[in-house]
């Protein structure tokens, strides 16, 4: 029925099967939309946030998806600026994943603010000292860049490509893509960094506060670095899941191996920097504010923020995947590679989690106790909403656009089409 829209030379499942898949994911999406409407109509009292937890699940989700979406800018930088030509076979997917991540982040932000109709104040009454202002400007601009990078893929749809205007527009956009890749890398450096700065500048919160270089706390650089490291890991992670779902090999091993190797070295250098940062914070910065490391990790009910979380983030989900990825014999085994990128993704999510949630949980006044929080169903549903949206956009893009340039070669159709 929709065969005229499907790229030439590739096979797709039946429209019925596809529609069923979209319907199931769409039901989840609808659940999220209901929760979103409830929040818009009734307000943030629908959440379990409170005056101690001004930042909660949504801000974590924002920071996490932006870090994971870092594969788009870093792969673009490697492909167009540094000249790693093999990566042209995975750049489309990296851009699509980045587009999904950033549009999700903007959606979550739009739900998160108490007065959404005033959200434009962040641009109109901008406070240049605020890290959030920098985030808003760079994030919005970079989403524009990602849209520009994604559009040529849409124009490559068989039917759209038949229109001369779109054909030429797409072709010319491809030709100038290096400029957008460079712009994207520049903007990403600042917004990834300023997201790190959001917590790093909070000198009233010793768990998150970091010293730094000029106006930028060390977390500024660590966030950019970690996004460049785990972004490609997430691209590989989603690629592997897509391959499993479609039961097809979509990207050649040498392409994935190159990206994994670079991500591994980025992760290894990042985790060394992170260990140094943690040591300096525990030995110098926090004691200057009257805290020892264990003040941040002990005496909390149920040990929700016990020392295990630091060990899991830096050791299990930092050092371990970094070593796995830089070791050729390990990363070339598909199962080991999948474990390594999964751990790296979890590590970045854990890092963002503690830098948002644990900052709020730790008591600062000596006569206060640990604060607890568990998200409401509305918060959970609206956090899952962008995941469902992402799955649908990826499914539609995969079905109707030539996202994987090597798909045809890796999956020849008997007799051709």
């Amino acid at each position: 029925m929709d065969s005229v829209l499907i790229p030439k030379g590739v096979e797709r499942c039946s429209i019925g099967k596809f529609a069923l898949f979209i319907a199931v994911v769409g039901a989840v999406l609808l659940w999220g939309v209901v929760a979103m409407l409830l929040i818009y109509i009734k307000g943030l009292n629908q959440t379990n946030m409170n005056n101690a937890y001004g930042f909660a699940l949504w801000i974590w989700a924002d920071l996490a998806v932006i870090a994971l979406g870092g594969g788009a800018f870093f792969t673009g930088l490697l492909r167009y600026i540094i000249g790693k030509d093999e990566l042209k076979h995975i750049i489309n997917y990296a851009v699509l994943i980045g587009f999904v991540c950033y549009s999700s982040a903007l959606l979550i932000l739009a739900i998160d603010v108490g007065q959404p109709l005033r959200a434009w104040f962040i641009f109109w009454h901008a406070n240049v000292h605020s890290m959030l202002t920098e985030v808003a400007f760079c994030l919005t601009c970079y989403f524009g860049v990602l849209t520009i990078e994604y559009l040529p893929m849409v124009f490559e749809n068989r039917q759209i490509d038949r229109v001369p205007f779109f054909h030429h527009l797409g072709h010319n956009m491809h030709a100038t893509m290096a400029i957008f890749a460079a712009t994207g890398a520049f903007l990403s450096f600042f917004h990834q960094g300023s997201l790190g700065g959001v917590t790093g500048v909070m000198f009233g919160r010793p768990f998150g506060y970091r010293t730094g270089l000029l106006i930028w706390p060390w977390t500024f650089f660590l966030y950019t670095w970690s996004a460049a490291a785990v972004g490609p890991c997430f691209t590989i992670f989603i690629t592997r899941i897509t391959e499993a779902v479609t039961r097809k090999k979509l990207v050649k091993d040498n392409v994935v191996d190159l990206l994994a190797k670079i991500a591994g070295w980025m992760l290894l250098t990042y985790i060394i920097a992170k260990i140094i940062d943690t040591w300096y914070w525990a030995a110098v910065t926090a004691p200057a504010a009257g805290f020892t490391l264990m003040d941040f990790y002990s005496n909390n009910p149920g040990s929700a923020y016990g020392l295990w979380i630091l060990i899991a983030e830096i050791g299990l989900c930092g050092v371990v995947p970094a070593i796995m990825l830089v070791t050729p014999n390990i990363r070339r085994r598909p199962a080991a590679l999948f474990v390594a990128v999964t751990l790296a993704v979890i590590g970045a999510c854990l890092n963002r989690w503690v830098m948002v949630l644990q900052v709020q949980a730790v008591p600062v006044l000596s006569f206060e106790t640990w604060f607890t929080y568990f998200p409401s169903w509305q918060e959970i549903a609206t956090t899952i909403l962008p995941v469902a949206y992402g799955i649908i956009l990826i499914a539609l893009s995969y079905r109707y656009l030539p996202i994987f340039p090597q798909e045809q070669e890796l999956n020849p159709i008997e007799g051709g089409k």
Binding site: N45, N50, A52, S130, G204
Partner: protein, 261 residues
């Protein structure tokens, strides 16, 4: 900023006088049209610009002691006006006024990102999780000088700034450019039956707050009075609320200290 004409309004609260009666909290809510709900069980969702903490020395009877600590906004100056909340607000909805030393909050500018709440270590910034609903007839008793706040924005104590504006208006009408100490006093100060709260200009040696706290301008306002302390001094928030006590354990509770083993 310590220019001679610039004020630095601050507060000194004598913890040895405070009985924890809560009159300051009630006066503050009435003066500033602070909204409340029928069910205020969950205090983490309540709005109270002035909150009273109950501190104990952790010892068993007969050595147990307690202390009530009223906590308004600490009006932090930070370094050169970069208080924890002001520097982070993306929409300039809060501001450090160099002429008075008061950290303002502009309800109509705030769009509810709550970054300031996350940054404030004192939890003085609170969110309007609901629209205000007043019991029937009570809307007629609202203070006309203070706008009520809507759902989805942050609010906090501003040292009854509207009283400062009214006092300055009166002074201008009378051809003066300055205020007497008694002309600008916060609602909580006036309501305290024990006289535990003293308010005034920390830059003015004639004001009681200056004499009680004895702020050292060379050390970012640290008190020279050995009985005075500020909450979380080590963080560098440079607050303008000072606490007085003769009890060591209370002074120690005001800040965190790395215990030497």
């Amino acid at each position: 900023m310590d220019q001679p004409n610039f004020k630095k309004f601050g507060m000194v609260i004598d913890l040895d006088k405070c009985t924890g009666c809560g009159a300051c909290m009630v006066a503050c809510m009435a003066e500033n049209n602070v909204a409340f709900r029928e069910d205020e069980t969950d205090k983490m969702l309540s709005i109270s610009w002035m909150r009273i903490y109950r501190l104990t020395n952790g010892k068993a009877f007969p050595n147990s002691e307690e202390c009530f600590l009223p906590r308004p906004c600490q009006q932090c100056e930070g370094h050169h006006g970069h208080s924890p909340c002001v520097s982070v607000c993306p929409a300039t909805a809060t501001d450090y006024d160099m002429k008075t030393g008061i950290v303002s909050q502009i309800p109509t500018r705030c769009f509810g990102c709550r970054y300031c709440m996350a940054s404030c270590p004192y939890h003085v910034r609170q969110f309007n999780w609901w629209d205000p609903v007043w019991p029937e007839g009570m809307e007629r008793s609202l203070n006309p000088n203070v706008s009520v706040r809507m759902r989805g924005i942050v609010e906090k104590c501003c040292f009854c700034f509207h009283r400062y504006q009214a006092a300055m208006d009166q002074a201008y009408v009378e051809g003066r450019r300055d205020l007497e100490e008694h002309e600008y006093q916060t609602a909580c100060t006036q309501a305290c039956p024990a006289g535990a709260i003293v308010f005034g200009d920390l830059n003015n040696p004639g004001h009681a707050v200056h004499q009680l706290a004895q702020p050292d301008p060379d050390r970012e306002g640290r008190p020279r009075n050995p009985k005075a302390f500020r909450l979380l001094e080590r963080l560098g928030t440079n607050p303008k609320v000072y606490y007085l006590t003769g009890r060591d354990w209370v002074r120690k509770a005001g800040d965190n200290e790395v215990k030497k083993s």
